[in-house]
């Protein structure tokens, strides 16, 4: 048997240490870059897209959805777009989603990043694609720059909406400035709004006063602590509610004892 000289052993250990060190260096640089580029919250995905974190895991960046889109709405993020490279997105102010009823972009997705089930409805127990179930984003109105809220008559977004009267309705209120006119303000309904962006595309102001935001950015969440007690449907939300009770120094004893003990009374 050949015995190793200390020199060879040292060389062996050093080469392993070097490999590990270089890998760690590469990993740090690489993950820093990836961390930067995948954090792009302001991106609108095609219909049926999974939540952003899951979408980014699944999408293989093949562009089949882009090729299927008849309006050239979808674009694959190019280097320089500062979005996760190669993933599909759209910019409604340039080209909105025209909500094709056969949703050609979704069934072609090979990776499951666009989930057909999320845009499927059942009519007489038969599955049919239903673009109205899409939630690509949510229209948000900037009342400051919406001329309808100034009292100038404009219903461009309302008329452009493919779910006219459902996703956007017009709210009437009195115009106190003139005393004889009405404000006709657009109001967006998040449950119906698909985020197609036809409203943003149609908006007449220089920069659209109604624009589509990713739903995760535009929407809040009530949580378990408040329900609509007058609404049987809303009470269902409590079924999965957490029963966690926090204990602080004050709540260790019952409320009464805790109050009675206060200040040694």
């Amino acid at each position: 048997m050949k015995t190793e000289t200390p020199n060879e052993r040292r060389r062996f250990l050093l080469s392993i240490a070097r490999g590990i060190g270089l890998s760690a260096m590469g990993a740090l640089v690489w993950s820093a870059y990836v961390g930067e580029v995948k954090a792009a919250p302001l991106v609108l995905r095609p219909p049926g897209a999974l939540d952003e974190a899951e979408f980014i895991k699944n999408c293989i960046k093949c562009g089949l959805c882009v090729e299927a889109c008849p309006y050239d709405t979808l674009i694959l993020a190019r280097p320089g777009d500062n979005l996760p490279m190669g993933t599909p997105y759209f910019t409604p102010r340039s080209v909105p989603c025209y909500m094709c009823t056969d949703i050609p972009c979704v069934p072609v997705c090979p990776s499951g990043a666009l989930n057909e089930l999320s845009v499927t409805s059942y009519v007489k127990n038969k599955a049919v694609l239903d673009i109205n179930k899409a939630h690509m984003g949510l229209a948000v109105v900037d009342e400051n720059s919406c001329i309808a809220t100034w009292g100038i008559q404009c219903d461009a977004c309302y008329r452009a909406c493919p779910l006219l009267g459902e996703a956007i309705t017009i709210e009437h209120s009195k115009n106190d400035r003139t005393g004889k006119h009405a404000f006709l303000k657009p109001v967006v309904h998040p449950d119906q709004c698909t985020g197609c962006g036809l409203c943003e595309h149609a908006c007449v102001t220089e920069i659209a006063a109604i624009h589509i935001l990713p739903r995760a950015l535009a929407m809040g969440k009530v949580g378990d602590h408040y329900i609509k007690g007058w609404d049987k449907e809303d009470e269902k939300r409590l079924e999965g509610a957490s029963i966690e009770v926090t204990k602080t120094k004050i709540s260790e004893k019952s409320a009464l004892d805790s109050l009675n003990d206060e200040g040694g009374l």
Partner: protein
């Protein structure tokens, strides 16, 4: 012409595939849609990049059956027949790195430049690292920086600033290291080396015909695989061989040709 047979065939294959992909996006041809990450042949057969699917799988994504099936078809094809042919017959980067390598030879860079050391196994480390990072970061990390998909997507869907990445590879191969990208760094090539390790179509070296002119070694992008030149008659079996056929093209003595993998080998002296 004989000296360029496989080179021309490869360029023809690379360019025809590109034309089919571009035609799918611009004119709606159905022959080959998508890109090298995942495609659909005639709208029916899925093809997917096995390495991309591996990265997606380790993120824990609930991915679709189509890309899994596509990756299996591709892996099976190269694993049984083609070897690492993807790199030299399909990958669009090959045209860039071949140009850089050719220019290097013409300008005699390797003669004046001191080589700095890079290990041929670096690509396998990068491959391993990419899988670990994909699992940790929850996203296919190489797909976010891959100049291969960047180039291919760029040609089909619009390049953006992607030209910069291609220039980096060209300059790296030209000025820093001969065959630096494909031969040392690219983890997709490494994946194909592993997939094609046992594939059947191989270059056969007929040692008795060899005059030891070394032309094959000069043009070979993976010189280690030709260790048997002028020593023994055997198949080039290392997975790193890209089956590009340049050695076959340049050999004036017909000592190299494509054939079915052979498991025998015979030292030159014994014949």
């Amino acid at each position: 012409m004989k000296n360029y047979r496989y080179l021309l065939l490869r360029r023809l294959t690379q360019i025809s595939l590109l034309v089919l992909y571009v035609g799918a996006n611009i004119w709606g041809w159905k022959v080959l849609q998508g890109n090298l990450s995942s495609s659909s042949v005639l709208g029916v057969v899925p093809l997917s990049d096995p390495y991309a699917v591996m990265q997606i799988a380790v993120t824990g994504a609930s991915f679709g059956m189509d890309i899994l099936l596509g990756a299996l078809i591709v892996a099976l094809f190269y694993g049984v027949i083609g070897g690492r042919a993807f790199c030299s017959w399909v990958c669009p980067i090959n045209m860039i790195t071949d140009t850089a390598a050719w220019l290097r030879r013409v300008l005699k860079f390797s003669e004046v430049q001191k080589r700095f050391y890079m290990s041929r196994s670096l690509r396998y480390w990068i491959l391993g690292l990419s899988l670990i990072l994909s699992a940790l970061m929850g996203v296919a990390v190489f797909e976010l920086i891959s100049p291969i998909s960047m180039a291919h997507r760029g040609l089909i869907f619009g390049m953006g600033m992607g030209g910069g990445a291609l220039a980096v590879i060209f300059l790296f191969d030209l000025l820093v290291h001969e065959n630096g990208w494909c031969g040392y760094i690219c983890p997709l090539g490494a994946t194909h080396s592993l997939i094609g390790k046992f594939s059947l179509i191989r270059v056969w070296h007929d040692a008795p015909k060899c005059t030891d002119c070394r032309s094959c070694i000069t043009v070979c992008p993976e010189k280690e695989v030709l260790h048997m030149i002028n020593r023994s008659s055997e198949s080039v079996i290392m997975g790193e061989c890209t089956n590009c056929g340049r050695c076959v093209d340049v050999c004036q003595e017909d000592a190299l040709r494509f054939s079915i993998r052979s498991f025998t080998k015979q030292p030159k002296d014994e014949e």
